[in-house]
């Protein structure tokens, strides 16, 4: 499988030319400084909701609506039930959920750029990269590269893309959502690893001349963007706020996705403390067993995933084996530490997931005490967000007190 190396060298020129020819992608052109906006304030708040999602299958799914438009036009469509994910970057929408005809990003031989994205559990999505104007509340991201997840792909899924073991999430049933809005700590989904063939290209971006897909090098501006940093203002990060929920859960929870950190009266850091991350977007969590784990905050994870049943002394569930099922609710404390040295303790509870999913006749969806095993790292998923405002600081962007992302703050 030497196609990656050969093709990468070939495509550098093609894409370099096409970026100029297309002129589609203007994202990233804005000032990288932020925080002291001189523009009149815009509505920076997008409503979010926690529920079971459009497939009625995803506990702790965090959803919002996004409006996408043909670039430079008022030809727009609002797509609901888009999963809000702090563990990825970029907007991806199922082809079945969008009827707009959006211009494809191509090389100058008119080969459409395709993308495969593997998620941590080995599942993946595959489909073309197109350009769209995004409207998120009052914020705009012009000509933003987004991915259309192919329900019926034009090209066969590359072998390296499907090698993670998971399912192709090319349906609402499989994805549990109509799309994913990635608003994590990075500016692009791939970054510099995809811009040069001098290092081994990740199996993400492809061109498929003659229906045979090969890896492509892609300039930063043509990769999927975390749309937030391309806004004209409120572009240094986001704040997610969700209410507290009862121990046995709630049918839904409504909150806000607020753009910008310290840019308006509604997104001040306040008493939140800043935990900067390493270059992978991780910080460190020390559990009560005095072992330190790599850790991250991920609204796309629907539980707190940490350690293992043997170490914790609680079993996995019988019916829902991905989750913990303690006989009675267990309470734990862990200490987070940022790359900047900030430390702070977090207390949380893990309840019996089989019981949670059966409570209230099985209609509850928002849980602050859902957890499962993850021996290799500490994944602060959705339960972390309830009753705790969480800020996501984007890399290279300056926040309050001159802190530069990537960071989490809460």
């Amino acid at each position: 499988m030497n196609v990656g190396k050969i093709s990468a060298a070939k495509f550098v020129l093609a894409l370099g030319l096409s970026a100029g020819v297309l002129g589609l992608v203007s994202c990233g052109g804005g000032s990288s400084s932020s925080g002291n906006t001189t523009k009149p304030p815009v509505n920076n708040t997008l409503a979010v909701q926690v529920d079971l999602g459009p497939a009625n299958t995803l506990p702790n799914g965090l959803f919002t609506d996004v409006t996408v438009c043909v670039p430079g036009t008022t030809n727009c469509q609002t797509v609901s039930n888009i999963l809000v994910d702090t563990g990825s970057e970029g907007l991806r929408i199922l082809s079945s959920q969008i009827s707009l005809s959006l211009p494809q990003i191509t090389d100058n031989s008119s080969n459409a750029l395709q993308e495969c994205v593997s998620f941590a559990d080995g599942s993946y999505v595959w489909g073309p990269v197109v350009a769209a104007d995004l409207k998120l509340a009052g914020e705009k991201a012009a000509s933003n590269p987004i991915q259309i997840i192919s329900v019926t792909p034009s090209f066969s899924v590359p072998a390296d893309c499907a090698s993670g073991g998971g399912a192709n999430q090319n349906s609402v049933a499989a994805l549990g959502a109509n799309g994913i809005l990635g608003i994590g700590v990075f500016q692009q989904d791939c970054g510099s690893a995809c811009t040069s063939s001098s290092s081994q290209l990740p199996p993400m971006y492809y061109l498929c001349p003659n229906s045979f897909c090969t890896l492509a090098t892609v300039p930063l501006t043509m990769q999927l963007q975390n749309p937030v940093w391309t806004f004209a203002q409120d572009n240094n990060g986001v704040l997610i706020t969700l209410p507290s929920v009862p121990a046995d859960g709630a049918p839904s929870a409504s909150g806000s996705l607020i753009f910008g950190i310290g840019t308006q009266t509604d997104n001040a850091l306040g008493s939140a403390r800043v935990y900067t991350t390493d270059s992978y977007g991780n910080f460190q969590t020390t559990f009560s067993n005095n072992l330190a784990y790599t850790s991250y905050v991920d609204s796309g994870s629907n539980g707190i995933f940490f350690l293992d049943p043997t170490t914790l002394g609680i079993p996995n569930c019988t019916d829902n084996s991905s989750f913990y099922c303690p006989a009675s609710t267990a309470t734990y404390t862990a200490t987070n530490k940022g790359a900047n040295g900030t430390t702070g303790a977090v207390s949380f509870s893990i309840a019996n997931a089989d019981a949670l999913f059966n409570a209230n006749s099985g209609t509850n969806a928002a849980f602050n005490d859902l957890g499962g095993e993850n021996p290799g790292a500490f994944d602060w998923g959705m339960p972390f967000f309830f009753g705790r405002p969480v800020f996501v600081g984007i890399e290279n962007m300056t926040g309050p007190n001159s802190v530069v992302g990537p960071y989490w703050a809460y």
Binding site: A120, C190, S322, G372, E373, N374
Partner: protein, 147 residues
Amino acid sequence: MKTALTIVLSLLLSAAPAWAVLGEYESSVTSDQQYLHGELRAMVREGYSLHQITAANRTVVKEYISPAGLVFGISWQGPTLPNLQQLLGSHFAQFQQASQSQPRRRGPLVLRTDKLVVESGGHMRFFHGRAYVPSLFPPNVPVEVVQ
């Protein structure tokens, strides 16, 4: 550190690191030579040996090899999810089935059976995981060494 011997084989980008497959003989596998490019370090530890491949994109894959020459565990960490179909070999189908039959979960995946354990987690630009076959562990080597 229990390292008794460290051999650093600085391989060029185009060189072919031997890449073993879980449950198979280290020496029997030469089929995946193009996938990971970078530096191979072979280390002898107490009761087993370890091959660590650091890819040019910073993804690290470790292979844990018994004195009998069998790969009893593998681990990975870095910006790219490695090709698990290649790493897991004949165990991939079982992992695939498990990964696609865990309703309600959105997050890391753990397959835990008596014969095979696979853990895969992370987020965009950071993937971590390990896989091991309990029955292939050398005597007195604990599971925790695979990490």
